[in-house]
């Protein structure tokens, strides 16, 4: 079976592979995140008190897991958004602009997320 080897096809395949890899990683990370927040605590809705949240996020292993989760979920979200927006049939120039915009949004999201959990962890 002959596969198309155009640059666009190659970019789409690479993007799809990263989406799949981050997606599979998220299965594990989301499960940890949801169980830790909502199933191992007794209160309705999961982690409840302010101090409870601070204690949770300041635990080193949890901080690392949540940090990795933040990076992977943001990457997956930006790749997914790119895929959806390309459905609009953008020109090559607009596609490049879109990709730069999504990289920028992803970087800002990750930085903000790390600042947030870093500040909270320092308050514990």
């Amino acid at each position: 079976m002959a596969a198309t080897t155009s640059p666009e096809r190659s970019t789409r395949s690479r993007s799809w592979r990263w989406t799949a890899v981050t997606g599979v990683s998220l299965l594990v990370l989301v499960t940890i995140h949801m169980v830790a927040h909502h199933f191992v605590v007794d209160e309705v809705g999961g982690l409840r008190t302010y101090q409870h949240v601070l204690d949770y996020i300041s635990t080193p292993i949890i901080f690392v897991i949540e940090g990795v989760f933040l990076v992977v979920v943001t990457a997956h979200a930006m790749l997914g958004l790119r895929s959806v927006l390309l459905d609009f049939g953008l020109s090559e120039q607009r596609r490049r602009l879109l990709e730069r915009g999504l990289v920028g949004l992803g970087v800002v999201t990750v930085i903000y997320g790390f600042v947030l959990i870093g500040v909270l962890a320092s308050r514990a």
Binding site: M1, A2, A3, T4, R9, R12, S13, W16, T19, A20, G23, V24, L26, L27, V30, M34, H38, F39, D42, E43, V44, G45, R48, Y50, Q51, V53, L54, V73, T74, A77, G80, L81, S83, V84, D87, F88, G89, T109, Y112, G113, L116, V119, L120
Partner: protein, 154 residues
């Protein structure tokens, strides 16, 4: 690579042409151009339904990512700010929205896994069977989650 198309009886008339132009490893291709087609389920295959659900839940989850960051930002305002949010978050309406979130996660996660495995050629393409089997599993998890969320309410 195995043929990843749905049975001919389930396919859109233009699918063959699209599939021919997109052969090889990679994503399971969309069948019609433009997001408008996601919502058009008339005479569509299970594969199209799965594709549309994946896109719609994906967009919802991206929105939730930023909503979640905004909500967690209330923690920066201190204990009073967080407690104010908690009062709102534990109302039945918000607990229901939690369940909607879990629904989105299950549909997107399970269906995404299925698409990854089919697209990479690790499993044969049985769109209907794999989709409905995973959705049945997801429904069981959703019911368990609902019982956990609302069962603990007091």
């Amino acid at each position: 690579m195995s043929d990843t198309r749905a049975p001919s009886s389930e396919r859109d008339p233009g699918v063959d042409e699209i599939v021919r132009s997109r052969r090889g490893d990679g994503p399971v291709s969309r069948k019609l151009p433009g997001p408008v087609a996601w919502f058009d389920l008339r005479s569509r295959s299970t594969g199209h339904l799965a594709f549309s659900l994946n896109r719609i839940t994906g967009l919802g989850l991206v929105g939730y990512l930023y909503l979640h960051l905004a909500v967690l930002s209330t923690l920066l305002g201190g204990e009073d700010s967080w407690n104010g949010f908690l009062e709102l978050a534990t109302t039945p309406l918000f607990l229901g929205l939690d369940l909607l979130l879990v629904f989105g996660l299950l549909v997107h996660g399970l269906n995404g896994t299925r698409l990854s495995l089919i697209g990479s050629g690790y499993v044969p393409n049985h769109q209907k069977a794999s989709f409905w089997a995973l959705m049945a599993f997801g429904a069981i998890v959703l019911v368990y989650t609902a019982l956990h969320i609302f069962g603990g309410e007091s």
